[in-house]
């Protein structure tokens, strides 16, 4: 792999809730290369969103984030003051949220937002109108002049997300974190936005983290996939390989369900049970209570990341293969 844009080592995020301390991100390692799309997939509560927010220092106030390193282009972001971090965010680091309309200032028109982006990038607004138009055309908006005069509430969800993507791209950031950017959109619009991402993919030099719970979206869009379960990445590898040969029992279950729904199986394969309570996590592997392939050892010790560097799996069963 080429030199990673983003390198995260042992990221841990704890929340203080009702006096208890709950670790929701439990030692996450990530590396994303320039131009690469890494899919971070998992269920709600798996810690995927908090991972994204923690990297961008946007985690809620009751969160305590620690890591051995969170480095962008070799610079450890943890050393930065909040003010210095603010300078970086919205410039070299960008986030695309699930609810696009909420990311706009409701009192300002679209053109104001794009102008801020230009100012942010080059320190002044020279040529901003041209840049704004070009940015909107770049994301497939056919009449940019009309759209630039609209207020956020006048935008459809798909249009708002498209403009937000245009703003992020206009920044030319090093790192983009997109958190379920199509989940709130209707089917047809969702597909259009995913197609837009796919189209842009080749042109991006940024490292791109795409957070989603949807296996089929991850399969369509991502170069590599990292599967999160209960605060840990349990499997990470090239997309095609993870889908064709999932090695973690949890990934196997997710892939089987996605495929069964697609091909109208007679009955869906279930993953029994539910996510563990992270306030009182079970000993050993956190998936063990639900795992069909569980061994005695799994209930005593937590498996480290095993297997080749290109396809890591936190499961002792990998050693059998």
């Amino acid at each position: 792999m080429t030199e990673a844009v983003l390198e995260v080592r042992d990221l841990r995020t704890r929340f203080a809730i009702h006096g208890a301390s709950i670790e929701v991100v439990r030692g996450v390692d990530l590396a994303v290369a320039p131009g690469e799309v890494l899919g971070l997939i998992g269920e709600s509560g798996s810690g995927k969103t908090v991972t994204g927010l923690s990297i961008l220092r946007l985690a809620p106030e009751n969160a305590r984030v620690s890591a051995r390193s969170i480095a962008v282009q070799g610079q450890d972001l943890q050393a930065l003051s909040d003010a210095a971090f603010d300078e970086l965010r919205g410039r070299r680091l960008a986030m695309i949220f699930q609810n696009p309309v909420g990311a706009f200032n409701p009192a300002k028109r679209v053109d104001w937002h794009l102008r801020q982006v230009v100012i942010r990038r080059q320190g002044q607004d020279a040529g901003w109108a041209e840049a704004a138009r070009a940015a909107l055309i770049g994301v497939g908006i056919p009449h940019p002049d009309r759209v630039l005069r609209l207020y956020p509430h006048q935008l459809s969800g798909g249009m708002a997300q498209r403009i937000l993507i245009a703003m992020v791209l206009a920044l030319e950031p090093d790192l983009i974190v997109a958190d379920e950017p199509t989940t709130n959109l209707d089917n047809i619009v969702e597909r259009q936005i995913l197609a837009l991402f796919r189209r842009l993919q080749g042109r991006l030099s940024a490292a791109f983290i795409f957070i989603t719970h949807d296996m089929s979206i991850a399969a369509a869009l991502c170069d590599r996939i990292a599967v999160m379960y209960a605060g840990r990445i349990v499997e990470v590898g090239p997309t095609a390989e993870v889908f064709a040969r999932p090695r973690h029992p949890y990934t196997k279950g997710l892939v089987a369900t996605a495929l069964a729904l697609k091909h109208k199986a007679e009955r869906l394969k279930e993953i029994a049970g539910e996510l563990p309570n992270l306030a009182a996590p079970p000993p050993g592997c956190l998936f063990a209570p639900r795992c069909a392939e569980v061994m005695a050892r799994c209930r005593g010790e937590e498996p480290p990341a095993l297997g080749p560097a290109s396809h890591r799996v936190r499961c002792f069963r990998v050693e059998d293969a």
Binding site: E43, G140, M159, T257
Partner: protein, 331 residues
């Protein structure tokens, strides 16, 4: 109309309108959330309603349960027209029509235990003797795959999947003949969703209950439903056997819904979201197959004759479009 086709429940020309919002001319116009929908649900059948947000599928369900008063049309059920009945006259029918909501947590009283939640409908409708209630609650828990230990827990102590099981148990408590499930698995985690879908499938098989299953997720609809109806801005635009509708979609909107990411990639990415056409076919403003005649009136559902089996489509051009690809590459 034969008895079989009229089914367990039949909607005839059902419409639901709401007052317009805002000031000016907009406010005097009524919004037609459900517009002249006719369909039936057969005994023991799972009928899916699919469509995007705002298409009227939830409003249709709520009107059918008489949580809304329809502005027009009939709801024929057990020899009565529910649309015409008042609250008091409706009461005996209520226990026969039950609902499972999308958000399980907000559909429970936070201060009631699972036992209370399941026992309340039994008491209200005097389904069984007081002494039998505990036994019946235990039965219900077992039916939805929960251990008896759940009876004394409170809603906040349960996960989303467990709560949805209780919600299904509560709906089954009165042995209804129709269960309306409105996005009942949408908020659940992927790994739990399969459990609840399988549970619904089992319940239909074991109890013979009909299910109206509302979803925006086409894969889920295909898995569970015998027939599906596709809604667009209040109109039912296509209706038929699940495999028919998914395998040979006839309406341009259904084809667009069923398109894949690959189709979207091939077909350009211009914004296709246009407001529904004010006159004529609702879908015309987004439809790339529209012709002048589409502006005349919204087409009625007509039998897609080549397909048979109750497959119907509301498009004047469906025959002309048969020659184009099964799914439209550009939509």
């Amino acid at each position: 109309m034969t008895a079989a086709a009229s089914g367990l429940l039949r909607l005839e020309n059902l419409s639901v309108t709401f007052p317009g919002r805002g000031l000016g001319p907009e406010s005097s116009r009524r919004l037609r959330a459900v517009d002249d929908v006719t369909l039936h649900i057969a005994p023991g059948e799972v009928l899916g309603l699919v469509g995007e947000s705002g298409s009227g599928k939830t409003t249709l369900a709520k009107a059918l349960l008489r949580l809304y008063r329809p502005s027009d049309g009939r709801i024929l059920f057990r020899g009565a027209d529910l649309a015409a009945l008042g609250e008091r006259a409706l009461k005996p029918f209520r226990r026969d029509l039950q609902m499972v909501f999308q958000d399980p947590l907000s559909s429970f009283n936070p201060r009631q235990t699972v036992f209370e939640a399941l026992a309340t409908p039994l008491r209200l409708h005097k389904v069984c003797a007081r002494a039998e209630i505990a036994g019946r609650v235990a039965e219900l828990l077992a039916q939805v795959g929960l251990s008896p230990s759940f009876r004394d827990r409170f809603p906040h102590e349960l996960s989303g999947g467990q709560l949805q099981r209780v919600a299904i148990g509560r709906a089954l408590a009165l042995s209804p003949s129709l269960l309306v499930a409105d996005e009942a698995v949408s908020k659940l985690d992927v790994s739990v969703r399969a459990q609840i879908l399988n549970l619904l499938k089992d319940i239909r098989e074991r109890h013979g209950v009909s299910i109206l299953f509302i979803t925006h997720d086409l894969h889920v609809a295909r898995y569970l439903c015998d027939r599906v109806g596709v809604m667009y801005f209040g109109k039912l635009v296509e209706l038929g056997g699940t495999e028919r509708v998914f395998g040979q979609p006839r309406h341009p909107y259904t084809r667009a819904l069923l398109g894949t990411l690959e189709d979207a990639l091939g077909g350009g990415i211009e914004e296709q979201i246009a407001p529904p056409s004010p006159a004529g076919c609702r879908y015309a403003s987004r439809c790339r197959h529209r012709i002048d005649a589409c502006g005349a009136a919204h087409p009625a559902l007509e039998a897609a004759a080549d397909a048979g089996g109750g497959h119907a489509v509301a498009c004047i051009r469906w025959r002309a479009l048969l020659d184009s690809h099964t799914t439209d590459k550009s939509e």
